[in-house]
């Protein structure tokens, strides 16, 4: 199913999204980009995967009690996404903001398919989503990503490691296998989805420079203070951050 199944962006604002496996550094890069855009006077809104206040409680319960099947896991994330889209992303785009989304429907395309959900079904599921103006894929070798994850945070969680797939009883090994398969899915869809591929094994500075160049080249005319000037007097040009950064 081609990318055109997503809805065209008919709004004033633009949509920039980042994708990549856990530990690819995409969230870091997106916050740096948002910072940059704000400093230029561009109104920015930020939305992270799996952060809808309406759905959070259900997702938390499902994860805690390990209640999810591949289908319900897929559906609850789509519900979360729909809520953020309907209540936050679309209104902000209508208002002319550049919306920065940490993960987008492509995360589901990759993850849910690895979990065994049908490829066509999950693509149809997200058909209501708006097609991003720019999609960045932070491509990183599996071992680099795993090194970052294991070195950085505390324990890897059950569903992050894809433990529900029964790939391995060792959580690190399961994580490795699961993320490896997701990486393959991302690679396979990169061209079809028009991803801008960033080599995420390079330095943070180099990646950010590349990202900003692409944003300026592709969306330059839409950036900067909105017509009629920047924020009203006394209001700092900051975008609201909704939810916690996605992992």
């Amino acid at each position: 199913m081609p990318l055109s199944t997503l809805q065209p962006n008919r709004y004033k604002g633009k949509l920039i999204i980042v994708e990549g496996i856990d530990g690819s550094g995409k969230s870091t890069q997106l916050s740096l980009l948002a910072q940059y855009l704000r400093s230029q006077g561009t109104p920015v809104a930020f939305s992270a995967w799996n952060s809808s206040p309406l759905v959070k409680e259900t997702t938390r319960r499902g994860k805690k009690k390990e209640m999810f099947t591949p289908t319900t896991f897929s559906l609850i994330h789509a519900t979360d996404f729909a809520d953020r889209l309907e209540r936050y992303i679309l209104p902000m785009m209508k208002a002319g903001a550049v919306v920065c989304a940490d993960r987008y429907a492509f995360t589901a395309y990759a993850r849910d398919v690895v979990r065994g959900v049908s490829r066509e079904w999950v693509r149809n599921l997200y058909r209501f989503a708006v097609r991003p103006n720019l999609s960045f894929y932070f491509r990183v070798p599996l071992e680099v990503a795993i090194g970052r994850i294991l070195g950085g945070r505390d324990a890897i969680k059950y569903y992050e490691a894809g433990m529900d797939l029964g790939l391995s009883r060792n959580i690190v090994e399961s994580f490795r296998l699961f993320q490896g398969r997701i990486l393959e899915e991302y690679d396979a869809m990169a061209e079809e989805m028009g991803f801008h591929i960033i080599d995420a094994s390079g330095s943070i500075e180099k990646q950010q420079k590349q990202m900003r160049e692409i944003v300026n080249r592709e969306l330059g005319a839409c950036l900067g203070p909105p017509p009629g000037g920047g924020p009203p007097p006394g209001v700092a040009p900051s975008g609201r951050t909704v939810g916690v950064p996605a992992r």
Binding site: L54, P70, D83, R87, G116
Partner: protein, 273 residues
């Protein structure tokens, strides 16, 4: 479209062996306040008395999503796509964790609403029909879908005389069609009925005139359901009354497309699947 009972309508659920399923899946559909839950409760008792184990289930009752849906409804903050998908999540959880295990164990599953209500609500809210039909494609084809159909005035009467007040969501207040719940209820339920009617033929609904007394509806359901069980004796046929023949089991309106009569003859043709 797949029509064999206990097959998937569309893309299959991962990890389900359909060969293991042996129960019966019976769906009661219809608009709000039409009397579905009353009928489900009576059917359950009747089937259990006949020696059949029954699982009854209905919308927003899943362990996973039931609470979340209730909270979202309480806050009146449901966007249309979010609502559709939250109900789809709830349905999937019940299908995988209740309905399929019960069918595997040979239960009769009586379900108060199925994917058709989810689809109808999405259509009433202007969502793309093909999108939601596809999303709901993991549902199992039921043995039979009874569509309890009544006109909006009947539904209004049941709300007024029955529960005594209009409900925000049953009135479709989120659609912003009217200022008060009565006006909105009338418009919204008419939309739902139109949407259900539009699915009737495609999904082979057996339409039952639910503007009648509960006893008459129950008798029709019993007669029809008995066809699926060799060990259930049909209750004595009702004495014919003026204006109500055996063919009372049919769409009360000319608008219902593809209506099927559930006269014994028609049923015999339809239920041997």
């Amino acid at each position: 479209m797949n029509r064999t009972p206990l097959q998937f309508f569309g893309d299959p659920l991962p990890d389900v062996d359909l060969g293991e399923l042996q129960g019966k899946l019976i769906v009661i559909e219809g608009p709000d306040a039409v009397g579905r839950s009353t009928q489900v409760a009576r059917l359950r008792v009747w089937l259990e008395e006949s020696g059949h184990a029954v699982l009854d289930t209905g919308m927003a009752r899943s362990a996973l999503a039931g609470k979340g849906i209730q909270q979202a409804k309480d806050g009146n903050t449901f966007g249309p796509v979010t609502m559709t998908l939250f109900y789809a999540t709830d349905f999937a959880d019940r299908l995988e964790n209740e309905i399929i295990p019960a069918l595997r164990a040979g239960f009769v599953v009586l379900t108060d609403r199925y994917i058709f209500s989810i689809i109808a609500r999405a259509i009433a809210r202007g969502e793309d029909r093909r999108w939601i039909e596809n999303v709901a494609g993991f549902a199992l084809v039921p043995h039979v879908v009874y569509y309890l159909r009544a006109g909006v005035p009947d539904l209004v009467a049941r709300v007024v005389f029955g529960r005594g007040q209009f409900d925000y969501w049953e009135s479709g207040m989120d659609l912003g069609m009217a200022k008060d719940m009565y006006d909105s209820f009338v418009k919204y339920q008419a939309k739902l009925i139109r949407a259900l009617d539009s699915m009737s033929e495609r999904y082979g609904f057996v339409t039952i005139d639910a503007s009648r007394a509960p006893d008459a509806i129950f008798a029709d359901l019993q007669r029809s359901i008995a066809q699926f069980f060799s060990d259930i004796k049909l209750p004595p046929a009702p004495r014919p009354r003026r204006g109500v023949s055996a063919a009372a089991v049919q769409a009360p309106s000319r608008r219902a497309p593809g209506r099927r009569t559930a006269t014994p003859a028609a049923q015999a043709g339809m239920s041997v699947r």
